[in-house]
Protein backbone atom coordinates (compact mmCIF):
# COMPACT_ATOMS: atom_id res chain seq x y z
CA UNK A 1 0.00 0.00 0.00
CA UNK A 2 2.53 2.57 1.21
CA UNK A 3 5.18 3.50 -1.29
CA UNK A 4 8.78 4.06 -0.20
CA UNK A 5 9.17 7.66 0.97
CA UNK A 6 11.16 9.88 -1.38
CA UNK A 7 13.67 11.51 0.93
CA UNK A 8 15.89 13.14 -1.64
CA UNK A 9 17.31 13.21 -5.12
CA UNK A 10 20.90 13.97 -6.12
CA UNK A 11 21.37 16.96 -8.40
CA UNK A 12 25.10 17.76 -8.65
CA UNK A 13 25.99 21.41 -9.15
CA UNK A 14 29.39 22.61 -10.32
CA UNK A 15 30.66 26.10 -9.68
CA UNK A 16 33.66 27.54 -11.54
CA UNK A 17 34.86 30.84 -10.17
CA UNK A 18 36.69 33.62 -11.96
CA UNK A 19 38.30 35.34 -9.02
CA UNK A 20 39.31 39.01 -9.10
CA UNK A 21 41.62 39.58 -6.14
CA UNK A 22 42.12 43.33 -6.54
CA UNK A 23 45.38 45.30 -6.39
CA UNK A 24 46.80 44.48 -2.94
CA UNK A 25 45.91 40.78 -2.88
CA UNK A 26 47.24 40.44 -6.46
CA UNK A 27 50.58 41.74 -5.29
CA UNK A 28 50.50 39.29 -2.38
CA UNK A 29 49.75 36.38 -4.73
CA UNK A 30 52.54 37.49 -7.13
CA UNK A 31 54.89 37.57 -4.13
CA UNK A 32 53.88 34.04 -3.18
CA UNK A 33 54.71 32.90 -6.73
CA UNK A 34 58.25 34.22 -6.07
CA UNK A 35 58.53 32.75 -2.60
CA UNK A 36 58.05 36.04 -0.74
CA UNK A 37 55.42 36.96 1.85
CA UNK A 38 54.25 40.49 1.10
CA UNK A 39 52.10 42.53 3.44
CA UNK A 40 50.99 46.14 3.58
CA UNK A 41 51.18 48.69 6.34
CA UNK A 42 48.24 50.86 7.40
CA UNK A 43 49.26 54.55 7.27
CA UNK A 44 46.98 55.23 10.24
CA UNK A 45 47.58 52.43 12.80
CA UNK A 46 50.94 51.27 11.32
CA UNK A 47 49.84 47.61 11.52
CA UNK A 48 51.10 45.24 8.83
CA UNK A 49 48.49 42.97 7.24
CA UNK A 50 49.26 39.59 5.65
CA UNK A 51 47.59 39.03 3.28
CA UNK A 52 46.66 42.65 2.64
CA UNK A 53 43.29 43.83 1.37
CA UNK A 54 42.80 47.21 -0.26
CA UNK A 55 42.68 48.99 3.05
CA UNK A 56 42.81 48.60 6.82
CA UNK A 57 39.68 46.83 8.13
CA UNK A 58 40.01 48.56 11.50
CA UNK A 59 40.81 52.14 10.36
CA UNK A 60 39.04 52.14 7.01
CA UNK A 61 41.92 53.83 5.18
CA UNK A 62 43.75 52.72 2.06
CA UNK A 63 47.01 50.84 2.49
CA UNK A 64 50.13 52.44 1.04
CA UNK A 65 53.49 50.91 1.92
CA UNK A 66 54.34 47.38 0.87
CA UNK A 67 56.26 45.39 3.49
CA UNK A 68 58.12 42.13 3.02
CA UNK A 69 57.49 39.86 5.97
CA UNK A 70 59.83 37.11 7.16
CA UNK A 71 58.93 33.46 6.68
CA UNK A 72 59.84 32.78 10.30
CA UNK A 73 57.34 33.42 13.05
CA UNK A 74 55.71 32.50 16.33
CA UNK A 75 52.98 29.92 16.82
CA UNK A 76 50.51 31.93 18.92
CA UNK A 77 47.78 29.31 19.30
CA UNK A 78 46.68 26.09 17.60
CA UNK A 79 44.28 23.16 17.41
CA UNK A 80 45.17 19.50 17.19
CA UNK A 81 42.80 18.20 14.52
CA UNK A 82 41.69 14.58 14.76
CA UNK A 83 39.02 14.58 12.05
CA UNK A 84 39.20 15.03 8.31
CA UNK A 85 36.24 16.62 6.61
CA UNK A 86 34.96 16.52 3.06
CA UNK A 87 37.71 15.33 0.71
CA UNK A 88 40.58 16.78 2.70
CA UNK A 89 43.31 14.24 3.27
CA UNK A 90 46.00 15.16 5.78
CA UNK A 91 47.44 12.47 8.03
CA UNK A 92 45.73 12.59 11.41
CA UNK A 93 46.29 14.00 13.88
CA UNK A 94 47.65 17.24 12.53
CA UNK A 95 48.23 20.65 14.06
CA UNK A 96 46.47 23.63 12.55
CA UNK A 97 48.37 26.64 13.90
CA UNK A 98 47.90 30.38 14.01
CA UNK A 99 51.29 31.79 13.07
CA UNK A 100 52.38 35.39 13.38
CA UNK A 101 55.11 35.77 10.78
CA UNK A 102 57.85 38.12 12.03
CA UNK A 103 57.02 41.62 10.87
CA UNK A 104 53.30 40.98 10.47
CA UNK A 105 50.55 42.17 12.80
CA UNK A 106 48.09 39.49 11.76
CA UNK A 107 48.15 35.70 12.08
CA UNK A 108 47.77 33.05 9.39
CA UNK A 109 46.40 29.55 9.79
CA UNK A 110 49.17 27.12 8.78
CA UNK A 111 49.82 23.40 9.08
CA UNK A 112 52.51 22.58 11.68
CA UNK A 113 54.78 19.62 10.92
CA UNK A 114 58.19 18.28 11.95
CA UNK A 115 57.30 17.78 15.61
CA UNK A 116 55.11 15.25 17.44
CA UNK A 117 51.67 16.83 18.00
CA UNK A 118 51.86 16.42 21.76
CA UNK A 119 55.03 18.56 21.85
CA UNK A 120 53.55 21.54 20.01
CA UNK A 121 53.21 24.60 22.28
CA UNK A 122 52.04 28.18 22.22
CA UNK A 123 55.00 30.51 21.69
CA UNK A 124 56.98 27.97 19.66
CA UNK A 125 59.24 29.57 17.02
CA UNK A 126 58.64 28.24 13.51
CA UNK A 127 59.84 28.59 9.92
CA UNK A 128 57.94 28.15 6.67
CA UNK A 129 58.65 25.03 4.65
CA UNK A 130 58.00 25.91 1.00
CA UNK A 131 56.95 23.53 -1.74
CA UNK A 132 59.66 22.90 -4.38
CA UNK A 133 60.21 26.09 -6.42
CA UNK A 134 58.83 24.63 -9.66
CA UNK A 135 55.50 24.01 -7.91
CA UNK A 136 55.00 27.61 -6.78
CA UNK A 137 51.78 29.18 -7.93
CA UNK A 138 49.72 32.27 -7.09
CA UNK A 139 48.67 30.85 -3.74
CA UNK A 140 49.49 30.86 -0.04
CA UNK A 141 49.49 27.07 -0.28
CA UNK A 142 53.09 27.37 -1.63
CA UNK A 143 53.94 27.29 2.07
CA UNK A 144 53.37 23.60 2.65
CA UNK A 145 53.69 23.86 6.42
CA UNK A 146 55.74 25.44 9.18
CA UNK A 147 58.28 23.51 11.23
CA UNK A 148 60.02 24.26 14.53
CA UNK A 149 63.05 26.54 14.59
CA UNK A 150 65.89 25.68 16.95
CA UNK A 151 65.18 28.73 19.10
CA UNK A 152 63.83 29.28 22.61
CA UNK A 153 60.04 29.81 22.78
CA UNK A 154 58.81 33.38 22.57
CA UNK A 155 57.79 35.03 25.83
CA UNK A 156 53.98 34.95 26.29
CA UNK A 157 53.81 38.73 26.72
CA UNK A 158 55.41 39.18 23.28
CA UNK A 159 52.58 37.47 21.40
CA UNK A 160 49.63 37.70 23.82
CA UNK A 161 47.83 40.30 21.70
CA UNK A 162 47.65 37.86 18.77
CA UNK A 163 46.02 35.04 20.76
Amino acid sequence: MTAEPITGIVTPIRLDYTYTPGTSPSQFLRGMKEGRILGRRCPSCAKVYVPPRGGCPMCGVEFAEEVRVADTGTLVTFAVVNVNFANRVIDLPYVSGEVRFDGSDTTSMVLVQGIPVDQVRMGMRVKAHWLPRDEWDFTFANIDYVEPLDEPDADYESYKEFV
Binding site: Y19, M58, A79, V81, F85, A86, R88, T106, M122, Y156
Partner: protein, 387 residues
Amino acid sequence: MSGQLAAVLGTGQTKHVAKRDDVSIAGLVREAADRALEDAGLTYADIDAVVIGKAPDMFEGVMMPELYLAEALGAIGKPLIRVHTAGSVGGSTAIVATHLVQAGVHERVLTVAFEKQSESNAMWALSIKIPFSQPLVAGAGGYFAPIIRGYIRKADAPLDTGFQVVLKDRLNALKNPYAHLHQPDISMEQIIESPLLWDPIRYAETCPSSDGAAAMVIGSERAADASSRPVAWIHGTAVRSEPTMGAGRDRVNPHAGRDCAKAVYAEAGITDPFREIDCAEIYVPFSWFEPMWLENLGFAEEGTGWKMVHDGTTALDGDLPINMSGGVLSSNPIGASGMIRFLEVANQVRGTAGEHQVDGARKALGHAYGGGSQFFAMWVVGKDKPK
Protein backbone atom coordinates in the same frame (compact mmCIF):
# COMPACT_ATOMS: atom_id res chain seq x y z
CA MET B 1 15.94 55.62 20.89
CA SER B 2 13.83 52.49 20.50
CA GLY B 3 10.76 54.15 19.00
CA GLN B 4 7.35 52.77 19.94
CA LEU B 5 6.91 49.83 22.28
CA ALA B 6 6.92 46.29 20.92
CA ALA B 7 6.30 42.90 22.47
CA VAL B 8 6.47 39.20 21.68
CA LEU B 9 2.86 38.01 21.31
CA GLY B 10 3.56 34.34 20.62
CA THR B 11 6.35 31.85 19.96
CA GLY B 12 6.67 28.49 18.23
CA GLN B 13 9.37 26.01 17.40
CA THR B 14 9.67 22.55 15.93
CA LYS B 15 11.04 19.52 17.73
CA HIS B 16 14.68 19.74 16.64
CA VAL B 17 16.06 16.51 15.21
CA ALA B 18 18.95 15.30 13.05
CA LYS B 19 16.75 14.72 10.03
CA ARG B 20 13.20 15.82 9.28
CA ASP B 21 12.49 13.76 6.19
CA ASP B 22 8.73 14.03 6.66
CA VAL B 23 8.61 17.70 5.67
CA SER B 24 10.18 20.02 3.10
CA ILE B 25 11.81 23.31 4.15
CA ALA B 26 8.44 24.97 3.53
CA GLY B 27 6.70 22.43 5.76
CA LEU B 28 9.26 22.96 8.48
CA VAL B 29 8.91 26.74 8.64
CA ARG B 30 5.13 26.48 8.38
CA GLU B 31 5.04 24.21 11.43
CA ALA B 32 6.93 26.76 13.57
CA ALA B 33 4.88 29.69 12.20
CA ASP B 34 1.57 27.86 12.87
CA ARG B 35 2.63 27.26 16.46
CA ALA B 36 3.66 30.89 17.00
CA LEU B 37 0.32 32.14 15.68
CA GLU B 38 -1.62 29.64 17.76
CA ASP B 39 0.37 30.67 20.84
CA ALA B 40 -0.46 34.32 20.11
CA GLY B 41 -4.13 33.51 19.47
CA LEU B 42 -3.84 34.96 15.96
CA THR B 43 -4.12 33.82 12.35
CA TYR B 44 -2.15 34.62 9.19
CA ALA B 45 -4.77 37.26 8.36
CA ASP B 46 -3.62 39.27 11.40
CA ILE B 47 -0.04 39.49 10.12
CA ASP B 48 1.18 42.60 8.25
CA ALA B 49 4.65 41.46 7.19
CA VAL B 50 7.03 38.49 7.38
CA VAL B 51 10.74 38.67 8.20
CA ILE B 52 12.68 35.47 7.59
CA GLY B 53 16.29 34.51 8.29
CA LYS B 54 18.64 31.62 7.79
CA ALA B 55 22.38 30.98 7.63
CA PRO B 56 24.25 30.72 4.27
CA ASP B 57 22.24 29.23 1.39
CA MET B 58 25.05 26.69 0.87
CA PHE B 59 23.93 24.99 4.08
CA GLU B 60 21.04 23.44 2.14
CA GLY B 61 22.14 24.21 -1.39
CA VAL B 62 18.87 26.08 -2.02
CA MET B 63 19.48 29.57 -3.34
CA MET B 64 17.23 32.31 -1.96
CA PRO B 65 14.77 29.92 -0.28
CA GLU B 66 12.69 32.89 0.89
CA LEU B 67 11.34 33.24 -2.65
CA TYR B 68 9.58 29.92 -2.48
CA LEU B 69 8.69 30.17 1.21
CA ALA B 70 6.45 33.22 0.74
CA GLU B 71 3.31 31.15 0.26
CA ALA B 72 4.06 28.75 3.10
CA LEU B 73 4.36 31.75 5.44
CA GLY B 74 1.21 33.48 4.25
CA ALA B 75 3.25 36.35 2.83
CA ILE B 76 1.41 36.66 -0.47
CA GLY B 77 0.44 40.30 -0.92
CA LYS B 78 2.51 41.32 2.11
CA PRO B 79 6.09 42.48 2.61
CA LEU B 80 8.61 39.62 2.94
CA ILE B 81 12.17 40.44 3.99
CA ARG B 82 15.12 38.07 4.23
CA VAL B 83 17.90 38.75 6.75
CA HIS B 84 21.36 37.22 6.81
CA THR B 85 24.11 37.68 9.41
CA ALA B 86 25.63 34.15 9.54
CA GLY B 87 25.02 32.27 12.82
CA SER B 88 23.62 35.34 14.56
CA VAL B 89 20.86 35.58 11.95
CA GLY B 90 18.08 34.16 14.13
CA GLY B 91 18.66 37.05 16.51
CA SER B 92 19.10 39.81 13.95
CA THR B 93 16.00 38.58 12.07
CA ALA B 94 13.87 38.99 15.19
CA ILE B 95 15.41 42.43 15.69
CA VAL B 96 14.54 43.57 12.15
CA ALA B 97 10.95 42.43 12.77
CA THR B 98 10.96 44.33 16.08
CA HIS B 99 12.25 47.50 14.42
CA LEU B 100 9.45 47.39 11.85
CA VAL B 101 6.98 47.45 14.74
CA GLN B 102 8.92 50.02 16.79
CA ALA B 103 9.09 52.28 13.75
CA GLY B 104 5.31 52.21 13.59
CA VAL B 105 5.34 50.64 10.11
CA HIS B 106 3.45 47.46 11.08
CA GLU B 107 1.17 46.28 13.88
CA ARG B 108 2.05 42.58 13.85
CA VAL B 109 5.05 40.98 12.18
CA LEU B 110 5.71 37.26 11.86
CA THR B 111 9.39 36.40 12.10
CA VAL B 112 10.77 32.97 11.24
CA ALA B 113 14.22 31.37 11.11
CA PHE B 114 15.31 27.89 10.14
CA GLU B 115 17.99 25.46 9.04
CA LYS B 116 17.53 22.03 7.56
CA GLN B 117 21.08 20.82 7.96
CA SER B 118 20.30 17.30 6.79
CA GLU B 119 19.72 18.57 3.25
CA SER B 120 23.35 19.47 2.71
CA ASN B 121 26.71 19.53 4.48
CA ALA B 122 27.44 22.67 6.48
CA MET B 123 30.90 21.40 7.34
CA TRP B 124 31.73 21.31 3.63
CA ALA B 125 30.13 24.69 3.05
CA LEU B 126 32.37 26.16 5.77
CA SER B 127 35.59 24.60 4.46
CA ILE B 128 36.01 26.37 1.13
CA LYS B 129 39.34 26.69 -0.61
CA ILE B 130 40.64 30.23 -1.11
CA PRO B 131 44.07 31.31 -2.40
CA PHE B 132 44.97 33.32 0.73
CA SER B 133 45.03 30.50 3.21
CA GLN B 134 45.94 26.87 3.51
CA PRO B 135 42.96 24.52 3.12
CA LEU B 136 43.10 23.64 6.80
CA VAL B 137 39.93 24.78 8.48
CA ALA B 138 38.06 21.61 9.31
CA GLY B 139 34.65 23.16 9.90
CA ALA B 140 33.72 25.59 12.66
CA GLY B 141 35.51 23.52 15.32
CA GLY B 142 38.81 23.88 13.50
CA TYR B 143 38.35 27.64 13.46
CA PHE B 144 37.26 28.06 17.07
CA ALA B 145 39.57 25.54 18.80
CA PRO B 146 42.67 27.81 18.68
CA ILE B 147 40.58 30.67 20.09
CA ILE B 148 39.37 28.45 22.94
CA ARG B 149 42.99 27.45 23.64
CA GLY B 150 43.72 31.18 23.77
CA TYR B 151 40.94 31.68 26.34
CA ILE B 152 42.18 28.83 28.53
CA ARG B 153 45.68 30.37 28.53
CA LYS B 154 44.54 33.94 29.10
CA ALA B 155 42.09 33.07 31.89
CA ASP B 156 44.19 30.24 33.31
CA ALA B 157 40.93 28.28 33.39
CA PRO B 158 40.66 24.70 34.73
CA LEU B 159 40.48 22.24 31.83
CA ASP B 160 37.22 20.65 32.99
CA THR B 161 35.28 23.92 32.64
CA GLY B 162 33.98 22.90 29.22
CA PHE B 163 32.81 19.53 30.54
CA GLN B 164 30.80 21.22 33.31
CA VAL B 165 29.03 23.39 30.74
CA VAL B 166 28.04 20.41 28.59
CA LEU B 167 26.77 18.40 31.54
CA LYS B 168 24.60 21.32 32.69
CA ASP B 169 23.19 22.06 29.23
CA ARG B 170 22.43 18.44 28.34
CA LEU B 171 20.67 17.94 31.70
CA ASN B 172 18.68 21.13 31.08
CA ALA B 173 17.73 19.79 27.63
CA LEU B 174 15.95 16.87 29.30
CA LYS B 175 13.38 19.40 30.56
CA ASN B 176 12.84 20.82 27.08
CA PRO B 177 10.64 18.70 24.80
CA TYR B 178 11.88 20.60 21.70
CA ALA B 179 15.59 19.94 22.32
CA HIS B 180 17.37 17.75 19.78
CA LEU B 181 19.65 15.86 22.17
CA HIS B 182 17.95 14.04 25.00
CA GLN B 183 20.65 12.07 26.78
CA PRO B 184 19.21 10.86 30.10
CA ASP B 185 22.39 8.88 30.81
CA ILE B 186 24.79 11.77 30.21
CA SER B 187 27.66 11.71 32.70
CA MET B 188 30.93 13.51 33.28
CA GLU B 189 32.73 10.27 32.45
CA GLN B 190 30.98 9.99 29.08
CA ILE B 191 31.93 13.57 28.21
CA ILE B 192 35.59 13.14 29.19
CA GLU B 193 35.84 9.91 27.25
CA SER B 194 34.32 11.27 24.06
CA PRO B 195 36.77 11.67 21.13
CA LEU B 196 39.01 14.71 21.04
CA LEU B 197 37.99 16.20 17.68
CA TRP B 198 39.81 19.51 17.63
CA ASP B 199 41.96 19.56 20.75
CA PRO B 200 40.95 21.22 23.13
CA ILE B 201 37.37 20.46 21.94
CA ARG B 202 35.90 17.02 22.59
CA TYR B 203 32.99 15.56 20.61
CA ALA B 204 30.61 15.88 23.57
CA GLU B 205 31.47 19.58 23.79
CA THR B 206 30.13 20.34 20.32
CA CYS B 207 26.63 21.19 19.16
CA PRO B 208 24.62 18.69 17.12
CA SER B 209 23.61 19.22 13.52
CA SER B 210 19.85 19.81 13.50
CA ASP B 211 16.80 20.38 11.33
CA GLY B 212 14.52 22.90 12.93
CA ALA B 213 12.64 26.18 12.76
CA ALA B 214 11.57 28.89 15.17
CA ALA B 215 8.99 31.65 14.86
CA MET B 216 7.61 34.59 16.80
CA VAL B 217 4.88 37.16 16.38
CA ILE B 218 6.06 40.66 17.30
CA GLY B 219 3.34 43.20 17.96
CA SER B 220 2.86 46.86 18.78
CA GLU B 221 1.85 48.15 22.24
CA ARG B 222 -1.77 48.23 21.10
CA ALA B 223 -1.57 44.66 19.79
CA ALA B 224 0.08 43.51 23.03
CA ASP B 225 -2.46 45.27 25.23
CA ALA B 226 -5.25 43.66 23.22
CA SER B 227 -3.80 40.17 23.56
CA SER B 228 -5.34 37.73 25.99
CA ARG B 229 -2.06 35.77 26.11
CA PRO B 230 1.03 36.58 28.18
CA VAL B 231 3.45 38.82 26.27
CA ALA B 232 7.16 39.61 26.58
CA TRP B 233 7.98 43.33 26.31
CA ILE B 234 11.06 44.16 24.31
CA HIS B 235 13.24 46.45 26.43
CA GLY B 236 16.25 46.72 24.17
CA THR B 237 17.80 45.42 20.94
CA ALA B 238 21.32 45.75 19.54
CA VAL B 239 23.31 44.44 16.58
CA ARG B 240 27.07 44.95 16.03
CA SER B 241 29.72 43.67 13.64
CA GLU B 242 33.48 43.78 13.15
CA PRO B 243 35.95 42.46 10.56
CA THR B 244 36.96 38.78 10.65
CA MET B 245 40.60 39.71 10.18
CA GLY B 246 41.85 42.76 12.02
CA ALA B 247 45.23 43.48 13.56
CA GLY B 248 44.84 43.65 17.32
CA ARG B 249 41.36 42.14 17.10
CA ASP B 250 40.51 40.27 20.30
CA ARG B 251 38.93 37.05 19.11
CA VAL B 252 38.52 35.69 22.63
CA ASN B 253 36.64 38.77 23.87
CA PRO B 254 35.50 40.56 20.71
CA HIS B 255 35.01 44.30 20.80
CA ALA B 256 31.77 44.12 18.82
CA GLY B 257 30.28 41.79 21.44
CA ARG B 258 31.21 44.12 24.29
CA ASP B 259 29.81 47.11 22.39
CA CYS B 260 26.62 45.24 21.54
CA ALA B 261 26.08 44.29 25.20
CA LYS B 262 26.71 47.85 26.32
CA ALA B 263 24.19 49.15 23.79
CA VAL B 264 21.45 46.67 24.65
CA TYR B 265 21.85 47.29 28.40
CA ALA B 266 21.76 51.06 27.88
CA GLU B 267 18.54 50.82 25.88
CA ALA B 268 17.01 48.52 28.49
CA GLY B 269 18.12 50.82 31.33
CA ILE B 270 20.33 48.15 32.86
CA THR B 271 23.40 49.27 34.81
CA ASP B 272 24.35 46.03 36.60
CA PRO B 273 23.60 43.13 34.24
CA PHE B 274 24.49 40.38 36.72
CA ARG B 275 21.99 41.71 39.29
CA GLU B 276 19.29 42.91 36.93
CA ILE B 277 19.14 40.04 34.42
CA ASP B 278 17.34 36.99 35.84
CA CYS B 279 18.45 34.48 33.21
CA ALA B 280 19.94 34.35 29.73
CA GLU B 281 20.06 32.18 26.64
CA ILE B 282 23.42 32.69 24.94
CA TYR B 283 24.88 31.18 21.78
CA VAL B 284 27.27 28.44 22.92
CA PRO B 285 28.07 26.05 20.04
CA PHE B 286 31.21 24.79 21.80
CA SER B 287 31.17 24.42 25.59
CA TRP B 288 33.93 26.93 26.31
CA PHE B 289 31.94 29.78 24.80
CA GLU B 290 29.80 29.93 27.94
CA PRO B 291 32.58 31.36 30.15
CA MET B 292 33.92 33.41 27.22
CA TRP B 293 30.56 35.08 26.58
CA LEU B 294 29.85 35.57 30.30
CA GLU B 295 32.87 37.90 30.25
CA ASN B 296 32.05 39.45 26.87
CA LEU B 297 28.50 40.19 28.09
CA GLY B 298 29.72 41.88 31.26
CA PHE B 299 28.33 39.24 33.64
CA ALA B 300 31.87 38.43 34.84
CA GLU B 301 35.19 40.27 34.92
CA GLU B 302 37.61 39.35 32.14
CA GLY B 303 39.34 36.05 32.93
CA THR B 304 36.82 34.97 35.59
CA GLY B 305 33.82 33.64 33.61
CA TRP B 306 34.85 30.03 34.27
CA LYS B 307 34.34 30.54 38.01
CA MET B 308 30.60 31.06 37.45
CA VAL B 309 30.49 27.70 35.68
CA HIS B 310 32.23 25.89 38.54
CA ASP B 311 30.32 27.48 41.42
CA GLY B 312 26.92 26.72 39.89
CA THR B 313 25.97 30.33 39.19
CA THR B 314 24.84 29.40 35.66
CA ALA B 315 22.88 26.27 36.67
CA LEU B 316 19.09 26.22 36.32
CA ASP B 317 18.78 26.94 40.06
CA GLY B 318 21.78 29.29 40.18
CA ASP B 319 21.93 33.07 40.54
CA LEU B 320 22.19 33.56 36.76
CA PRO B 321 20.79 30.53 34.92
CA ILE B 322 22.27 30.23 31.42
CA ASN B 323 20.76 28.17 28.59
CA MET B 324 17.87 26.71 30.53
CA SER B 325 16.59 25.11 27.31
CA GLY B 326 19.79 23.13 26.82
CA GLY B 327 21.13 25.76 24.46
CA VAL B 328 22.89 25.38 21.15
CA LEU B 329 24.84 22.47 22.66
CA SER B 330 21.58 20.52 22.62
CA SER B 331 19.95 21.80 19.40
CA ASN B 332 21.56 23.56 16.46
CA PRO B 333 19.42 24.31 13.43
CA ILE B 334 22.02 27.03 12.68
CA GLY B 335 19.86 29.79 11.21
CA ALA B 336 17.18 29.23 13.84
CA SER B 337 19.57 28.88 16.80
CA GLY B 338 19.74 32.62 17.49
CA MET B 339 15.97 32.96 17.30
CA ILE B 340 15.53 30.03 19.68
CA ARG B 341 17.68 31.95 22.21
CA PHE B 342 15.48 35.05 21.77
CA LEU B 343 12.25 33.02 21.90
CA GLU B 344 13.27 31.01 24.95
CA VAL B 345 13.94 34.14 27.01
CA ALA B 346 10.65 35.63 25.81
CA ASN B 347 8.93 32.50 27.14
CA GLN B 348 10.82 32.80 30.43
CA VAL B 349 9.46 36.30 31.14
CA ARG B 350 6.02 35.30 29.86
CA GLY B 351 6.13 32.42 32.36
CA THR B 352 5.48 29.90 29.58
CA ALA B 353 8.85 28.13 29.43
CA GLY B 354 7.49 24.91 30.90
CA GLU B 355 9.66 22.53 32.87
CA HIS B 356 12.79 24.65 32.42
CA GLN B 357 11.05 27.81 33.65
CA VAL B 358 13.14 29.98 36.00
CA ASP B 359 10.89 30.95 38.90
CA GLY B 360 9.97 34.61 38.83
CA ALA B 361 12.02 35.54 35.75
CA ARG B 362 11.15 39.17 34.97
CA LYS B 363 14.03 40.30 32.77
CA ALA B 364 16.13 38.12 30.47
CA LEU B 365 18.81 38.40 27.81
CA GLY B 366 18.85 36.62 24.43
CA HIS B 367 22.19 36.52 22.59
CA ALA B 368 23.45 35.24 19.24
CA TYR B 369 26.76 35.45 17.43
CA GLY B 370 27.98 34.39 14.02
CA GLY B 371 30.77 34.24 11.48
CA GLY B 372 34.25 34.29 12.99
CA SER B 373 32.78 35.83 16.18
CA GLN B 374 32.15 39.02 14.25
CA PHE B 375 28.34 39.40 14.16
CA PHE B 376 26.38 39.92 17.36
CA ALA B 377 22.66 40.29 18.03
CA MET B 378 21.06 40.72 21.46
CA TRP B 379 17.79 41.61 23.08
CA VAL B 380 16.49 42.16 26.56
CA VAL B 381 12.89 41.21 27.23
CA GLY B 382 10.82 41.80 30.33
CA LYS B 383 7.58 40.81 32.00
CA ASP B 384 6.79 44.47 32.62
CA LYS B 385 6.11 47.19 30.09
CA PRO B 386 9.20 49.41 29.71
CA LYS B 387 8.87 52.72 31.56
